[in-house]
């Protein structure tokens, strides 16, 4: 294999990592919080644009807001700004349920994209910005940048995965999964569901803002068309295929989905079949989704797998093992080991 192929594969992996993160954040919102968000692309757009505008070298650009911040500040700023936009969107939309929420968030995403196109004094409109600095671009001089970005992406995926694991297994995550399925009962138990929903939505916005630069670094440019609905639907499909509600499912889903569809484009075929091949990813995506829905509706890694290992009338075995694990973490023995059986 030539090195071009390998570099292409590394690029695909970067995209896989980005989608894995977006799908994990979506899982936080939709899989656990029950908020079926179709507006991911809009929030990613806010984050991506804020990051680029706040950090870009303004020479040669005539835009209203180019403070030239350092990258780290730009990333943090994009997290905070995106969280704030999520808050503004969340206030009216989180009163809605199910499909109404879905449609409204979709509309907001589209509004954001149109704003980006039209406010060209800020965003350079449809032309976008193509001079984008990337982190550690010169630090590792000897190797191609795709490898550096792969390192950053893998670390980001790992960080988000660990964060999700922590949130998912905490009472916080349990609370989310409870009101997702039965809001009425959660209210009857004294849970302030509305406040929690907004908090999750804002947290998701913050995380999307933080990871938005990954996508920009991968593409090496920012234009409004990057933030069309495609990005949202791909993340959703990855989540559903991988297993909605489980922690690691999103990563597996993104790997299979994005890796496979992008890799497919590289199969060498004769010229007369190229148009067929370019239609294949969507076709296979649809077939994969149908197969999953028919035979494995909970996804490849179901929610149960993440939360209830070995549940089948085990009479407290899970509780004991967890009590022991918690005890171990706290540096104590398992409480009342003898009292149970």
């Amino acid at each position: 294999m030539s090195s071009g192929w390998i570099l292409y594969a590394v690029g695909v992996l970067n995209l896989v990592g980005f989608y894995a993160i977006v799908a994990m954040v979506l899982n936080l919102e939709a899989g656990w919080g029950g908020m079926w968000d179709l507006g991911l692309a809009g929030l990613l757009g806010v984050g991506g644009y804020f990051y680029v505008l706040s950090t870009v070298d303004s020479s040669g650009l005539d835009l209203n807001f180019t403070p030239g911040w350092p990258m780290l500040l730009g990333i943090l700023g994009s997290g905070i700004v995106t969280a704030f936009v999520a808050f503004l969107i969340g206030i009216p939309t989180l009163r809605l349920r199910g499909e109404y929420f879905l449609i409204t968030t979709f509309a907001f995403a589209e509004m954001i994209r149109q704003l980006i196109i039209n406010e060209s004094d800020f965003t350079n409109g449809t032309l976008g910005i193509t001079s984008i600095d990337r982190p550690f671009a010169t630090t590792f001089g000897g190797i191609k940048y795709e490898w550096v970005l792969l390192g950053i992406t893998v670390l980001s995926v790992l960080a988000i995965y660990l964060l999700m694991r922590r949130l998912g297994h905490a009472p916080y995550g349990r609370n989310m999964r409870s009101f997702r399925d039965n809001e009425t009962l959660a209210l009857a138990l004294g849970k302030n569901v509305t406040r929690r929903r907004i908090q999750i939505f804002v947290l998701a916005g913050f995380l999307l803002g933080i990871v938005a630069p990954l996508y920009v670094w991968h593409i090496r440019a920012i234009v409004p068309s990057m933030y069309g609905p495609d990005i949202t639907f791909t993340a959703w499909t990855a989540l559903v295929v991988g297993g909605i509600g489980s922690i690691g499912g999103s990563i597996l889903g993104a790997l299979l989905l994005v890796g496979f569809t992008q890799g497919l484009l590289f199969i060498p075929v004769s010229a007369e079949y190229t148009n067929v091949l370019s239609a294949m990813p969507q076709l296979l995506l649809g077939i994969a989704l149908i197969l999953i829905m028919r035979w494995r509706p909970d996804g490849l890694i179901p929610e149960r797998f993440s939360f209830t290992p070995g549940n089948r009338g085990s009479g407290g075995r899970f509780l004991r093992s967890r009590a022991a694990a918690i005890g171990g973490l706290l540096g104590r023995g398992s409480p009342e080991q003898s009292g149970r059986s």
Binding site: Y172, R174, R177, L185, A188, G315, L329, L330
Partner: protein
């Protein structure tokens, strides 16, 4: 002083007066029953009292504190007045134990800050809830099923769990909406004795049910609702002999019981 006092409660849905000037009270350490035919407005009374439906008029006091009309359900629940629902779905994707953990955990344990801090922050609290959960589950004969996801439980088991889920919060008034429906006869015996024991511990109970022998067996005081209004009230003995009650439950001219 009664624990819960409801005065002249009115609730209409469109043209239908589902609850029509109902006054009732429930005391601590007593089982108060609310019976009546389908559509009598029993569950609506529950919904209005617990804040799930807005009332049209009337006053509700809990422990002598008035509850303002627009209080949210979760705020009412935090006063110590908790309810169950007729259809016990619970939290279907969570295990039996997790269901009780959700119920028994306070807001601070479930906060984002504690989640980020990790098990070190919330481990002790969850351990405490787990021990209380074990007690309750053993009592209800559900301990062996503690790691089963709720979707896999039987209706009867779900019903018992519904009970445990509310008890773990140490409520002051427990409002049970048809606790005995769908529960097998053997379990009904256990349920009755549990309700009596809770009453003896000083808990107030307000119970809706259709099973007359069950409810008259446990109640200290009974209200009979029909078409949104209280048509009779009294001790179980009085109610069992009350002509209008017999008419409703047995039909006219068949007063043989």
């Amino acid at each position: 002083m009664a624990l819960l006092e409801v005065e002249n409660l009115v609730k209409s849905f469109g043209g239908l007066r589902a609850v029509d000037d109902v006054s009732l009270s429930a005391e601590a350490g007593k089982v108060t029953a609310l019976i009546g035919p389908n559509g009598a407005g029993k569950t609506t009374v529950f919904n209005v009292v617990t804040g799930f439906d807005l009332r049209d008029s009337g006053a509700i006091r809990f422990d002598d504190e008035p509850i303002p009309p627009k209080r949210k359900p979760w705020q009412v629940a935090r006063l110590g007045m908790v309810r169950t629902f007729q259809t016990p779905v619970g939290f279907p994707k969570l295990t039996v134990l997790e269901n009780l953990e959700v119920s028994g955990s306070e807001g601070s344990t479930e906060s984002l800050r504690e989640a980020l801090a990790g098990p070190r922050a919330w481990g002790d609290e969850v351990g405490k809830v787990d021990r209380r959960a074990e007690e309750l589950l053993r009592e209800l004969g559900l301990w062996e099923r503690c790691d089963v996801v709720l979707e896999d439980l039987s209706v009867g088991e779900n019903k018992l769990l519904e009970f445990a889920r509310q008890l773990i919060n140490d409520p002051r008034l427990l409002m049970l909406d048809e606790p005995a429906s769908g529960v097998d006869p053997a379990a009904i015996g256990r349920l009755s004795s549990l309700i009596r024991r809770l009453r003896d511990q000083g808990l107030g109970l307000l119970v809706i049910d259709h099973n007359l022998s069950f409810i008259l067996g446990i109640a200290d005081y009974v209200y009979v609702l029909a078409e949104g209004a209280v048509i009779a009230e009294g001790t179980p003995d009085e109610i069992a002999r009350h002509p209008r009650v017999l008419e409703i439950y047995l039909g006219k001219g068949e007063v043989a019981a």
